[in-house]
């Protein structure tokens, strides 16, 4: 569907993107994830056509579109700030692209109303000014405005980053539903790990203008290829040499003691007997915990380091501060770099 071939983008002397290679498949929900300033927006803008790469090619359906102007690529775009036209009402915003294409009035009307219904905008809301609608409704207008053009690809640049937590979760779900309803190929830009994990079919993790890893959420999370990805994708524990030695001693697994070692929070069990595999067991002291409702996060002192672990919460704090517990971990879950 979309293929980036060795894309490089420079702003003056500054190398914003280099060596970007990726292929997005039809119907896929593909996410660009990365910290601020890593080049996600730049990549997206290269695909949409606002930026001409200094090197490399952009292919759409195997045709080179590197030099096709923005207006002629049929790629929908939803901006971070929505970029709704403030002087037009909701209806006119959605109809804008169709009008530009000189579609007959009645056809426009039909399409606008159809898409409005699909994104749950009422007849009444269509006639309002965009500024009179809430953040969530504005997002739906922005999406409707892009979708009504029947683009083959829909690009979204951090569409949720301006919203508060509750609304973000709600809209995230709406977005996913819409994407599934329309089956449209979607490129999604975010720096929110949770968003990337729950929404995406595949994720490309960006860092400083290069792609560090491309893969499914599970691959990215559990088999992070680089230390950066491992750190960036979610909360993590760093294990020191001493503990690694202990783990090596207890299991027949041979971890490299000189490498940086990491393990995810949920892979550490407390006082747990897990079946099957051979586990390493370490003594730990509960130093503190944080209440999250859904789960409790425990801070456990093991030797000289603090390891975090989560436990599902059953109404009572299972472990008290000061309590000595035994934690178990599977050496296979340790990622080393």
């Amino acid at each position: 569907m979309i293929k980036l071939d060795n894309i490089e983008v420079k702003f003056g002397d500054f190398l914003a993107l280099s060596d970007i290679n990726l292929e997005i498949k039809e119907g896929e929900f593909f996410t660009f994830l990365g910290p601020s300033g890593c080049g996600k927006t730049t990549t997206l803008r290269t695909i949409v056509g606002f930026i001409q790469p200094t090197d490399g090619k952009v292919y759409a359906n195997e045709v080179d579109i590197t030099n096709t102007p923005v207006e002629k690529r049929n790629i929908g775009l939803v901006f971070q700030s929505y970029a709704l036209f403030p002087t037009l009402n909701v209806y006119e915003n959605i109809a804008f692209g169709l009008k530009v294409n000189k579609m007959p009035k009645n056809e426009i009307d039909e399409k606008v109303r159809a898409i409005a219904q699909k994104v749950d905008l009422s007849e009444e809301q269509l006639m309002k000014k965009v500024s009179e609608l809430s953040g969530g409704q504005q997002q739906r207008i922005a999406i409707a405005r892009a979708l009504v053009m029947q683009p083959e690809i829909l690009c979204l640049d951090e569409p949720l980053s301006n919203l508060d937590a509750k609304l973000r979760v709600q809209l995230r779900n709406e977005l996913k539903e819409l994407q599934q309803k329309f089956g449209i190929t979607t490129i999604y830009v975010t720096h929110d790990q949770e968003e990337a994990l729950t929404l995406s079919d595949r994720i490309a993790v960006f860092n400083k203008g290069v792609i560090e890893q491309i893969g499914t959420p599970r691959e990215i999370y559990n088999e992070s290829k680089t230390e950066f990805v491992c750190n960036f994708i979610g909360d993590i524990n760093k294990i020191d040499e001493e503990s690694i030695k202990k783990i090596n001693a207890q299991t027949d697994y041979n971890l490299d003691e000189n490498k940086q070692s990491y393990i995810r929070l949920e892979r550490i069990g407390i006082n747990e007997q897990l079946p099957g595999i051979k586990y390493a067991k370490l003594k730990a002291e509960v130093v503190s915990f944080e209440y999250y409702g859904l789960y409790i996060k425990y801070y456990l002192k093991v030797g000289n380091i603090i390891l975090k672990s989560i436990e599902k919460e059953f109404g009572q704090t299972t472990y008290q501060v000061g309590e000595i517990v035994e934690i178990c971990l599977n050496p296979m879950d340790i990622m080393q770099y």
Binding site: F50, N61, E62, V70, E71, N74, I75, F85
Partner: protein, 582 residues
């Protein structure tokens, strides 16, 4: 998707205009602008300067010498600078306090106060100064009143520096009222509450939090005030007396006498250089400071109560005293337009002298309409023209950020460097003969030349105001429109223009109103058969007429005020209604 698609590129969209056409239009616009600037801004003015310093083809500084040895020229020049500087202070004091009274503090009746303060938007120049003189001058209303109390006082107390400063201070607050009010409304109200929370008093908050944030707007209006002060004409002429004459009337006199035009040009260059220095300084200060609010969520301003009872009473007194200063001249002009010459001369009002004759004679005299029609049409066309030119220029300056756009911007500011009379002379000396770059036409003696002049003098001010509006547009809107397949042209007209329209309209109204009674430019360039209003009114008061036309000037003043009020209502009044409805 489907297999037939898989080998084709993304579905091509129909695009409104073909790409080539757009490009041609774009370059056509560039070419037109370049042509306009070179033909009407650069060549005529260079021409003036050239003829000033190259007498018979050789460079001469005779004009400088003459001026330097003229006590009168030097003192007038000095006065102009004194006036410009002192106005920059006094107008800011009054202007800022006006805005604070109407938009920041909780003052009873602020809506009516605001209307009163806005009277300067509907009349200016000669009419305004005459109005003030009519109140404070020798036989003025206030003077008569004061003389009754202090019989020994000098009846001609209202002359000289203080009188000029007084009149101009109150005459020049329009820009504050419009642009500073906007800035106050954009203030981040939470910063005020934060300061309060830390124990700051009302006035400390004002000084340390509010005013610093308004500085960019204050800088901008200060430039305008300074330029106005340097170019002051009517006020010094009428109330300056012998002790306080400024340079512009002198430039005006010199430029009317062909043999002395070099002096006029030279004096203008002094003023121009001062303006340049000022602009450079202001730009520097503007860049140095940081005034961007860091808040993402702004709360709109709530009017501040003045807690100290005594101060509150004082503030109300001050507000209403200002109101009277603004409104009384207007009211009296209106009242006296219904009286006779004698009442006006003696400054007395009585029922017996009330008459409708003035208006009747205006209505029945067909030649009296003509100047109105001429001026309205000229002002309208010129205001539209100047908007078209500056908006297209701003679009380029905004989009193309390079050396050329800088040159474009600065060349459009050129008319600020010369007083309007000199611009008129530049046009005359350049276009009184066929010029190839305008198709071999002669412009002098045609209707076009005055229109051009009106457009030229309004460009710098308009540019500054509209540029600000352009730079506040969210860039992503343009991207979004493009992404939906719209051409640049379509994007511009459908998306960008509507956003800047409010600013465009207010600048349009201000331009229209000020051109309506222009005299300085018109007198040089008007087509003799189409006399504009400013010239017409001035001729009414001319010393060579035997008939006493003072009543008629009052009548004309009232009608000008009515037209200006209508313009303002069309721009602002309707706007207010719309937002209220919405």
């Amino acid at each position: 998707m489907k297999s037939e698609n898989s080998m084709s590129p993304l579905k091509k969209r129909k695009v409104t205009k073909s790409f080539g056409f757009e490009n041609i239009l774009k370059y056509l616009m560039y070419a037109m602008l370049a042509w306009f600037i070179v033909s009407f801004l650069v060549i005529p003015n260079i021409n003036t300067l050239y003829t000033t310093f190259f007498i018979d083809g050789s460079f001469s500084l005779e004009a400088v010498q003459k001026l330097l040895s003229s006590e009168r020229a030097m003192s007038s020049l000095k006065n102009s600078f004194i006036l410009a500087v002192s106005l920059s202070v006094t107008v800011n004091i009054i202007g800022i306090s006006l805005v604070l009274l109407t938009d920041y503090f909780d003052i009873k009746g602020s809506k009516i106060l605001r209307l009163g303060y806005m009277t300067t938007l509907i009349y200016g120049g000669l009419i305004l100064v005459s109005g003030y003189k009519f109140i404070y001058g020798g036989n003025g209303f206030i003077t008569n009143f004061l003389v009754d109390i202090f019989p020994n006082m000098n009846q001609d107390w209202f002359v000289g520096y203080w009188a000029v400063l007084f009149v101009m201070t109150f005459a020049c607050t329009s820009n504050h009222l419009i642009f500073l009010s906007n800035a106050i409304k954009k203030l981040d109200f939470q910063t005020i509450e934060a300061a309060k929370n830390m124990g700051a008093s009302t006035f400390l908050i004002l000084r340390r939090v509010v005013l610093p944030t308004l500085l960019p707007s204050i800088f901008a209006v200060t430039i305008l005030i300074f330029i106005t002060g340097l170019g002051a004409t009517s006020a010094p002429l009428i109330v300056g007396g012998e002790s306080f004459q400024t340079i512009t009337p002198m430039i005006l006199t010199f430029s009317k006498s062909i043999g002395s035009r070099d002096l006029a040009a030279m004096l203008s260059i002094f003023l121009g250089m001062a303006t340049v220095i000022l602009l450079v300084c202001m730009n520097h200060f503007e860049k140095k400071g940081n005034y961007m609010s860091v808040s993402k969520v702004k709360t709109t301003i709530v009017k501040q109560k003045i807690n100290n009872k005594f101060v509150n009473v004082l503030a109300h007194i001050y507000a209403y005293a200002l109101f009277l200063i603004y409104v009384v001249p207007v009211v009296l002009i209106i009242l006296f337009s219904f009286t006779d010459a004698k009442s006006i001369a003696t400054g007395t009002l009585s029922f017996s002298s009330f008459t409708l004759n003035n208006y009747i004679s205006l209505i029945t005299n067909e030649s009296a309409y003509k100047p109105f029609i001429v001026s309205i049409l000229y002002s309208l066309l010129a205001s539209i023209g100047v908007i078209i030119i500056t908006v297209s220029a701003c679009r380029i300056i905004h989009k193309v950020k390079n050396k050329w756009s800088d040159i474009l911007e600065y060349s459009l500011l050129l008319p600020w460097l010369l007083p309007s009379t000199l611009i008129a002379i530049g046009l005359i000396t350049t276009f009184d003969k066929p010029q190839w770059f305008i198709g071999g036409n002669i412009l002098v003696g045609t209707l076009v030349v005055l229109l051009l002049a009106y457009i030229i003098v309004k460009i710098p001010y308009t540019l500054r105001m509209i540029k600000a509006a352009f730079f506040s547009i969210d860039d992503t809107l343009e991207d979004a429109s493009k992404n939906l397949g719209a051409s640049s042209l379509y994007t511009f007209f459908r998306i960008l223009l509507p956003i800047i329209l409010p600013s465009v309209l207010s600048v349009f109204a201000l331009n229209f109103n000020s051109l309506l009674t222009d005299y300085d430019l018109s007198v040089f360039l008007y087509h003799p058969l189409y006399q504009p209003l400013g010239v017409f009114i001035k001729n009414l008061t001319d010393a060579n007429t035997v008939a006493d036309n003072t009543t008629m000037t009052f009548v004309y003043a009232v009608i000008v005020m009515i037209i200006s009020s209508i313009t303002l209502y069309l721009v602002y009044g309707r706007d207010v209604k719309k937002t209220k409805k919405g």
